[in-house]
């Protein structure tokens, strides 16, 4: 069997100018980065502001398991499928992080015959966007410590610095560090930390900004520390938001690439969904909506994390109108949720039991009043009986379902799903409402998410979390939406609970304010913002030959 990278390398890519031409982009609308990548100018949004938006489809998934659900594969397959049935369709996706690329999970370009290409470039530096974000982040960090060393005019309390440093690498040794050692010429000793770039507030800001000036303003509004009187100190107090924004002048432009079937894809931004808000940039989504009749987008991990934040943060902030939710599941993963011993063998009982995970996500999504379809990412081990069982189950719930064989057959394997999605959009109404109102107290907003979406019975807060909430509300930031940070392995905050846990107690450890991005981060279950590498990282299997051909990347 061919590996993903082999399939990708056999693809006959079209020059990116050809892809741009399909979208009617003019020479001034984009800049080419190598033969197969481009950046689209933000001015395009102005030019097209009177053009009506296309339809927006969100691809999300059930709770991930080691078996894998293939959400990106379905997303890309659906994009290819819709184009196959004659619908002008663009996917708006997140960029991969080097952390998982070299760690365990691998890249984020889909799989089989549903991939975006050039996958090597997208999985590695991809036009430098994350590096630019890391640079802007670390410029701010360096200026904070420098400010303190140079006299500390702002009266920064070194025990109340909330801005870390960032690196796009899984490097657990940098989670807890002491910096500034070696005497006064080397700064002031203090505890600090590195976070992975994708969890940086700069990443969230880039993804939520609507223009270059909005980006600059938001960066200026980041609270990096509190002074000795506990007043917030912002990046604009350091006068470096201009520099940070200058570093992001190209990174803010969405990237254009293509699928294996040469259909256009916009890939831009990439906050993790378990520790950040998990959606590609608003600018990318808006651009795709202007350039297509159908825009497919994705939210990281399962619907409890990615879709909730997509709906309650991204859609609310940017007035996006979502037309359809595609919920990806696999029979193997559902059997895993139903505690099957061997997910490769037919096990109707485990499958039936595993439905509770699917059902909870369906129930959650229905709270937003958006029509939904379940997409079964088909594996060769799936039996007819299993497929029939899940079809019957969805029918009984009055929820649409389609098989997707995009991994094996590309767009042709997603034609049925594509037709059903079109049918839903043409015939079903949406009546989007967010899960919670912004003007509720912070604790109440968190409780609504945890109870309604995660099924928790009781929510507790550490004393530290409660104190921070009070502080945030006193500072006037109480009206911001919530960005939950929680394990992706369970709907609950306990990674070992499969299915649809209920009536458990969920504990909020820590609260963080992202005043530039404009949300409040609620952390449950000790989620870390810096992953580690496994015993044998993917990095040990990647190689490159004398012709520059890369192997081992997936």
């Amino acid at each position: 069997m061919k590996t993903d990278i082999q399939i990708a390398q056999e693809c006959k890519l079209k020059r990116i100018e050809e892809i741009a031409k399909k979208l009617n982009l003019k020479d001034e609308d984009y800049e080419v980065y190598g033969k197969y990548k481009a950046k689209i100018e933000l001015s395009l949004l102005d030019k097209l502001k009177n053009k009506p938006d296309g339809k927006l489809i969100l691809v999300t998934a059930i709770t991930p398991t080691p078996a894998g659900e293939g959400k990106s594969t379905v997303t890309i397959g659906l994009t290819q499928g819709l184009n196959k049935i004659g619908k002008k369709t663009i996917a708006a996706l997140r960029e991969p992080s080097l952390g998982p690329v070299f760690g365990i999970k691998g890249g984020a370009c889909g799989g089989g015959y549903s991939q975006i290409v050039p996958m090597e470039d997208i999985n590695l530096h991809f036009n430098g966007d994350f590096h630019a974000i890391g640079s802007a982040h670390n410029l701010i960090a360096a200026c904070i410590d420098n400010h303190i060393k140079q006299g500390n005019k702002l009266n920064v309390d070194i025990n109340k610095i909330v801005f870390k440093r960032a690196v796009d690498m899984n490097d657990r040794a940098l989670r807890n560090i002491i910096i500034g050692l070696g005497g006064s010429q080397n700064g002031i000793p203090r505890e600090s930390s590195f976070q992975i770039t994708v969890s940086s507030e700069i990443m969230a800001i880039l993804c939520l900004s609507t223009s270059l000036m909005d980006l600059k303003k938001r960066i200026g509004n980041i609270i990096f520390a509190y002074d000795k009187n506990d007043n917030p100190l912002k990046v604009k107090d350091l006068k470096i938001e201009g520099s940070a924004c200058a570093l992001l002048k190209d990174a803010i432009k969405p990237n254009l690439v293509q699928t294996l079937e040469n259909t256009p894809v916009i890939v831009h931004g990439g906050p993790f969904a378990n520790i950040a808000h998990g959606c590609n940039s608003i600018l990318a989504t808006k651009m795709a909506l202007k350039l297509s009749d159908y825009t497919i987008t994705e939210a990281g991990f399962a619907a409890d994390l990615g879709a909730e934040k997509f709906l309650d943060i991204k859609c609310r902030l940017s007035n996006l109108k979502l037309n359809c939710i595609v919920l990806v599941a696999t029979i193997r993963a559902l059997k895993h949720h139903g505690s099957a011993k061997n997910i490769s063998k037919e096990d109707l009982k485990a499958l039936q039991k595993g439905f509770e995970n699917l059902d909870k996500h369906i129930e959650n999504m229905q709270k937003y009043n958006i029509p939904i379809i379940v997409a079964i990412n088909k594996f060769s081990s799936d039996t007819e009986k299993e497929i029939n069982l899940i079809k019957e189950h969805c029918n009984s719930l009055n929820v649409e379902i389609a098989l997707c064989e995009a991994w094996e057959y590309g767009g042709n394997g997603a034609k049925d799903l594509s037709k059903k999605v079109v049918n839903i959009i043409e015939n079903k109404k949406t009546n989007y409402k967010p899960l919670y109102k912004l003007n509720l107290p912070v604790k109440e907003k968190i409780e609504i998410i945890c109870k309604e979406i995660y099924g928790a019975g009781k929510i507790t807060f550490t004393e530290k979390a409660s104190k921070t909430i009070k502080k945030i509300e006193n500072l006037g930031y109480g009206n911001l939406p919530i960005c939950m940070s929680k394990t992706q392995k369970s709907i609950s905050d306990n990674p070992s609970l499969l299915g649809a846990p209920k009536n458990y107690t969920l504990n909020i450890d820590e609260i963080k304010l992202a005043s530039g991005a404009g949300f409040i981060i609620a952390m449950a279950g000790g989620i870390i913002d810096m992953p580690g590498l496994p015993k044998i990282p993917v990095a040990c299997n990647i190689d490159i030959d004398k012709n520059g051909k890369i192997s081992g990347l997936f």
Copy 2:
């Protein structure tokens, strides 16, 4: 008066395809990165291997002072000037580091009417080369700590890890840190450090590699630590040289840009000259030699640092044949070396005294048997008497001299210099010999550089340095060239000594082995590989407007 960035922004740039066309590059020979930048494929070197090389000119300078010498301005001006007088000329230059760009020194694109453009892009991320180097570096670093945490099969002695982490930022708080705190799930606590990316061994390797496979081999050969029996451990023992090289697959390709006068420039790699070897990549220089009749290249800081390493490391390793050395000086800087009170006022006595710095650099360069010309970068404060004095002085030494007004007039201001350089190359012979033989003992090689070039009387070594030298020789690396790490502010190791210090004692603090790059680093005078930011960093003055126009960058 217009600022450099204003002049650069008024320039009518040509599309990079047009610049490539001038060089007869075919579509397959390069990839475009935005409208005004490209990367040249390494395969071009193969295609042109039978074409004779052009002539090679090195621009170097007297010891820098706060007054500035304008070496890059002269380099670019000379490139423009040679093109003006009908010589097909390319400059091969180093890329700027974000450290000085946001710190004190600013960028590295020349000045006035002798600049390379787009200066904003070149000074900021420039096709991501340094970010790729940083990523490859930090992947190795993360894998080292991960290896130890995962069982330490290689028996790494955590007190003998010599590989640091890297960031392209002036961040002194990261000079001395403790990492891996917070319990065993966060790694093993140990002392560590970040260095600025430009000082990374990966940077040196990229600049000294002759192919992608040479790059991979050299990365694999980096000694990152010693085991508990004091045996060297190499990156290839971690099996990640393939991944690190994959990260550098585009960074190894030289970048094509243009001068303000639309002549081609290749910019690639950028090790600092005071802490690293200070030359652009060998691949860039070789490419420029194949594509031009005259190639101008530059070596960082003064001739004692940049030129010595250019000649003894780069030329020796890559068999480059240097045809002419241009030694840049300013009358203001020479007066500073002569202890003038006010360098803006005529001061013939101070100028005369300052000649000793110029003379020492001339004497040094003459040891390599390459013809030399002094280029006076003219300032408006220079008087006729001062100019005559320096002309007479050079005449008395039988050394060519030319005034250069490239800052004010671009290539037209460098015509005289250009003609004289052509005349030298056409009429004078070169007979290059390196300063020292590689098979001498390490201490002897260091002593030759310090005595012959720096004018030191006596060389001392710390006990630690002596021990390391012995270790290096025992490991079989004694035959490598020396990469001196020393202050740029004086020919000596004492930054406060102006002119041409003599008969002083120079102390070597520390010795490092760069087994991948292939040199031995000898550190004198407490040189640090991570600069700090000043009280008001340049970063505080940089801004960007809604059209993406940057100001304050220089």
